[in-house]
Amino acid sequence: MGKWNSAALHPRETQFMSIPVLHVPLRRRVTNRKVTVASCIGAAVLLAIVVVAGQLLAGQAVTADFSAKSLMPSADHLFGTDWMGRDMLARTFAGLSTSVLIGLLAACVSALIALAIAAIAALGGKRADAVVTWFVDLFMGIPHIVMLILISYALGKGVVGVTVAVSLTHWPSLTRVLRAEILQCRESQFVAHAQKLGQSRLRIALTHMVPYVLPQFIVGLVLLFPHAIMHEAAITFLGFGLPPDIPAIGIILSESMSYLSAGMWWLALFPGLALVLTVMLFDVVGSNLRRILDPHSSQE
């Protein structure tokens, strides 16, 4: 309640002072909401621009120009060039776009898996619940990166291996959240009343459960993106998956390792920075979307 207000005052003073909500100026609250929506849409648009730009620059990203080898960042090449004279700006964007697309696919698949498993756990009875909980514990216990390595090894490395590995390993945490949500919904009074009123199971599922769980599902899905992208970059960095001719952030960074001791710092600095910014954009989209969709957190 009135958190923006407490920032202006000393914390000690706000503690003993309760500010009635009615006193908060109305205009300010409206802008709050608008800021949330605007930053959410703005970040999403920026991400779309990154993907499109990356696809457009894909050709330029692999063109070698041996007359412009290993150049420092300049007006012509904002991010510099690598040892084959490839423009790092184009490579970074192309790499980001590959990473974002794989991340999107992987997050969607993982979220759907989580939804299905959570539904089985919450609605399938006590035994199904125990089995699912045990499996969630099991998968949470295997270090994520080891699981990624194992799956991509099982699929013979390559693009498919990485994509499938990232898609199949992000479900456990979201499964926990969704299972709790569905259980809470099932125990709720409005579902009990609907049952007493003789509504069919399908109708209860569609009109009561789906609207209850959907916001959590969407927010969980969006918040999976950053993880998926970071893990994609990590596993590619380790040398699994994508062939060197497809620019991906992980590949760019692992290639840059060989040139670090030669002092070519720009090969690692800018692509990594771009990755950090992209991941933060996804975080902005996710947390603002949560504020929009989830009434409980909109006051935070």
Binding site: Q15, I145, V146, F237, G239, V276
Partner: protein, 328 residues
């Protein structure tokens, strides 16, 4: 108490068994041919069919998977984890030496990130809305989005290449006999990897502790303590610290999986000879025996961490122990 611990140990054994089954299944699914990976591409193409068949028979290619698994399990339980193809040594030896390196690295990072994150979280929570709070929050949000390996690369560029303060890689100086390596050498080589891991690890625990601190500062007991005339920091120390420590301990034990993941990447960046680097080498080189063993050992770290957390919890907070006993 004994029953409480026993129950968790049985659970741990079951989970590790399941991990070994999963790892075994996934590795046997792989199209990477371990026989071919073992003899090498050149030798494989110049080999006669009969010779290949002989090799395949020697390595037991036609043995059904469940039988292979039973073989593996029985010899593993007797302490024989097989032979690593890449390192040409018994898997148990490869792992025990590397696990020591990794555990040392992880332990330092775990303690540093835990203490630092906890302190920063409390300071930020108590001074909510101040400059300190904003800096800590910004730091955590940026760090949460930063890939560990990139941060490692940055540190490597700045402190090892540009400034030359620290060595570029490995856990001991190159060309120095193992007997001559001093503790100082080991520490010197570990500074950068450990700092990288710690800096990344701080984010989660600091943010979490900050939230909890805000709750505690708004609680009735702190308000009462302050009403009695106690200073802010004394109230935090006397009334807040214990309430804040418990969730922080849980979180820190739960983060072992992430710290291990981070150490895999950091070891790769700094060429630090640990389990993570061995896992990557094993998977890229088709070294099945080593890969299974690493999967099991690294999971044992994580489950072991959770087990310790549960037992510690039972000791610190008697309510939980009673709850567990009543249920199980």
């Amino acid at each position: 108490m004994a029953r409480f611990i026993l129950k968790h140990i049985v659970r741990l054994a079951l989970l590790l068994f399941a991990v070994s089954v999963i790892a075994f299944l996934l590795i046997s699914l792989s199209p990477v041919d371990p026989v071919q990976a073992n003899v090498g591409q050149a030798a494989w193409t110049s080999m006669s069919e009969a010779k290949r068949a002989q090799l395949a028979e020697y390595w037991g290619v036609d043995v059904p998977i469940w039988q292979r698994y039973v073989n593996w399990l029985t010899s593993t339980l007797q302490g024989d984890l097989g032979t690593s193809l890449r390192y040409n040594a018994p898997v148990a030896d490869v792992i025990s030496w590397r696990a020591g390196n990794t555990l040392l690295l992880m332990a330092v990072a775990w303690v540093v990130s835990g203490v630092l994150g906890f302190t920063l979280g409390i300071v930020a929570g108590v001074k909510r809305g101040s400059i300190v709070d904003k800096v800590v929050k910004a730091y955590c949000f940026v760090l949460a989005a930063t890939p560990t390996f990139w941060l490692g690369l940055l540190f490597l560029m700045v402190f090892a290449v540009a400034l030359g303060w620290f060595p570029i890689g490995f856990s001991t100086p190159i060309g120095k006999a193992a007997a001559d390596v001093t503790l100082l050498d080991v520490a010197h080589h570990m500074v950068l990897p450990a700092i990288t891991l710690s800096v990344v690890g701080v984010a989660q625990i600091a943010l979490h502790t900050r939230e909890k601190t805000i709750d505690v500062m708004e609680s009735d007991y702190v308000r009462f303590a302050r009403a009695r005339g106690m200073g802010t920091w004394e109230a935090v120390r006397r009334h807040g610290l214990r309430n804040l420590a418990l969730p922080a301990i849980t979180l820190q034990f739960a983060s072992i999986s992430e710290i291990f993941g981070g150490s895999v990447l950091v070891e790769q960046v700094f060429s630090y000879p640990g389990l993570g680097q061995a896992a990557v080498t094993a998977a890229l080189g088709g070294d099945a025996a080593l890969l299974v063993a690493i999967a099991v050992v690294s999971s044992a770290f994580v489950f072991g961490g959770n087990l310790v957390a549960n037992i510690l919890y039972g000791m610190i907070d008697p309510r939980i122990r009673r709850g567990e006993a009543a249920r199980g």
